[in-house]
């Protein structure tokens, strides 16, 4: 029998593609529908944040961090101001710490909602779950608007505290939100978690073993989905995380379904954290007086927080001036892409999209 000659086809997925979550490009080699090779190409959104920061003062840089992971600005703010505080030894009032934790956990919910919605969109669900996720995210953004007047690029935190105390009506809206949220999550779960097609598409797809996850520096929900119980909020408690009770949900095998489900459970844990914070918070100042130009002593500091995407760390070197000598970001979205090739090779076109979707990258952070 004569054999038909076939040859692999190389397709450029992106930089303009509906499912690469931004201007990300993948050079994929297909054998029919099967992926035999893959090479990510970065840099379409590179704005040189690290270089720009070297010519701005420490308060101005807060606005630069907003624009990295633009769906989770609060977490970026927190990671950055914590590094500045560590570098120049600034103490933060307790009320400010509580407000920081509340806003960061709200941001985590907003970011996970977006990740879940877009994962379902990548699965081909014609935006229905996405719109439901965005409806709730909108309420969180409304809360942010009350806090600082902005919705996406927040710049709410300052070295030494937060920009301003939360207004009175904020607490009422927050209480309604967290009382509504569990039932809303149940609704979302009933749409997704037991859906036969979602299960068929995600279970066993894009496996990442625990050893490889650790080896390739993956953090956040992706690491925990690979059954590694590692959360900086517990492992290295910062702010007031040692005073609240919460679980660290983990997945069982590290497939796409686990990455989705860990995010969903983390939203429930975040709600728990916020309600405990509301009980514990006491009146007081929200900001330590800092000089207009912060001049940290000569030295260096690395500090990291558990962001929605993973360990978000800043490494800063100070030469005693008003701007950092070196400003380096440990971007979780960027490093989470390390095992991408191993995870995707051997799967099909449709799986590529959902595996990439389950990693939950934000191109502003990948390219910085």
């Amino acid at each position: 029998m004569a054999t038909i000659r076939t040859e692999p086809v190389t397709i450029n997925l992106g930089p303009q593609h509906p499912s690469t979550h931004g201007v990300f490009r993948l050079r994929v080699t297909f054998d029919g529908e099967k992926i035999v090779d893959l090479e990510p190409v970065f840099g379409y959104l590179h704005r040189g944040t690290e270089k720009l920061a070297e010519s701005r003062n420490y308060v101005q840089i807060v606005t630069l961090t907003d624009r990295m992971d633009y769906v989770a600005s609060m977490s970026n703010n927190l990671a950055y101001v914590r590094t500045v505080e560590k570098l120049s030894d600034i103490k933060v009032p307790e009320r400010a710490q509580y407000i920081r934790v509340i806003s960061v956990e709200l941001q985590r919910i907003a970011s996970h909602l977006m990740a879940t919605g877009f994962l379902l969109n990548d699965l081909g669900a014609l935006a229905t779950p996405l719109v439901y996720c965005f409806r709730e995210r909108e309420r969180i953004l409304d809360l942010f608007e009350m806090l600082c007047g902005a919705r996406i690029t927040l710049s709410y935190m300052r070295p030494g505290g937060v920009f301003q105390d939360a207004p009175e009506e904020f607490w009422g809206s927050l209480n309604t939100l967290i009382s509504d949220f569990p039932s809303y999550l149940d609704e979302l779960e009933s749409l997704i978690t037991t859906n036969e097609i979602v299960l068929a598409r995600t279970i066993g797809v894009g496996l990442l073993s625990d050893a490889q996850a650790i080896d390739s520096g993956v953090t956040g929900p992706m690491l925990r989905a690979s059954s590694v119980k590692w959360d900086l909020r517990k492992a290295n408690p910062y702010e007031i995380y040692d005073r609240v009770n919460f679980d660290v949900p983990i997945g069982s095998s590290g497939d796409t379904y686990d990455r989705y489900y860990v995010r969903l459970q983390e939203m429930r844990e975040s709600i728990k954290i916020i309600s405990q914070c509301i009980e514990q918070i006491e009146p007081g100042p929200v900001r330590t007086e800092t000089p207009f130009f912060i001049r940290p002593p000569i030295g260096e500091a690395y500090s990291s927080v558990e962001g929605p995407k993973g360990e978000l760390g800043f490494y800063m070197v100070s030469d005693g001036g008003i701007s950092p000598y070196r400003f380096k970001v440990r971007a979780p979205s960027f490093i989470n892409l390390t095992p991408l090739r191993d995870m995707i090779t051997g799967w099909k076109m449709g799986d590529l999209i959902i595996i990439l979707g389950s990693i939950d990258i934000v191109l502003g952070e990948v390219d910085r």
Binding site: I11, E33, T128, S227, K229, K348
Partner: protein, 416 residues
Amino acid sequence: MAPTPALFISFESLQIFFAGLIELIGFGESFKWLATLLAGISISFLIINVMVMATAFYTWFERRMIARFQVRRGPNRNGPFGMLQPFADVLKLIMKEDTIPDEADKPVFTLAPIALLAPTLMIMIVIPFGTFIDDQAFLSNLNIGILFIVGVTSVNSIAIFMAGWASRNKYAILGSMRGAAMLISYEIPMALGITSVLILSGSLAMTEIVSSQSVWFILVMPMGFFVFMAASTAEMSRTPFDQIEAESELGSGYNTEYSGIKFAVLFLAEFMAPLVTAAVVTTLFLGGSRGFDFLPGGIWFALKMFIIIFVLLWFRSTWPRLRIDQIMGFAWKTLFGLGLFNIFLVALEFSLADQFGGLASDKVSLTPKYMLIIGAINWIITIAIILIMANVVGRKKYTRPEPTPSPLANMGIKES
């Protein structure tokens, strides 16, 4: 026996009308072909215009409906309730530049939208949709009506392959390759679903199929309905089977390179498909224009079509997409088997009913009493099979093990 043609809209009556007109003017017998031609043109004109208008309103309805599913408002600016939105869309598409890629195979590229639209329109010819005046009006009462539909729909896969191949775009080729594989596979379960209808009705003509449905066939054989519905959803390539377009994977699949009026035609064909499918399903399984007397047959037909369209929309707006190998597996492993089993079941029951003297007066279909008995048996069997498939075959695969923390990490805290 075939019902008499309706008042003036059937092909035969138009032919007679034009022949009379030609004779009146004074042309001889040699101009008889002209009457056929004029009748054909009139029918085409009618079908194209009615269907295009119906599709335009259907796109508006679909967008409004999906918006409701998605807690949005949908188009509501142009005209009352945004009903003029489709016309604005078409106007925009017509005014856009009609680009053809340099590398494209130009004749095939141009022909593909027409090849996709034509069969969809042709199906409407044989559907006995009924009007206000006549319960069983049709445009042409082909005695092989259902065979005509099966034949004509299979042209779709060629048209989609033409569009993808001629574009010289890797996404388009990938989409059309998927399309060729998927559409041909799903034609088989579709034909099996139709075959079981033919056993019960005893005729290939659409009007006969309707008139034999003293009990709707969906009640007599739910499994056949399920197989046909799933297969025809795949034939339209809508979620969960929208592999051909798969906008989150392939951008837009086979129509990636199309723009302007060519895209409008492709779009039209694509949105006409649910209408046509709903019409076929209504005719085959929901008793066509049959209904209670207080409403004319045309209204019944439209109502049933509306229900089917709504169900299709419901699928579309809530379900994610299956992977290509799962889709092919579903066609060959599940639907193919179910379709064959259904044919076997219906044929067995039919011959048994024949033994017991259940044939109706026309000697090809069954009396309502026997149909109801068969229906009761089939419902039980169908529910049993669905339960078996869901619980025994399906659930086992998806049990998740309880997560155990990996030994590779230890956060150094006592677990409470």
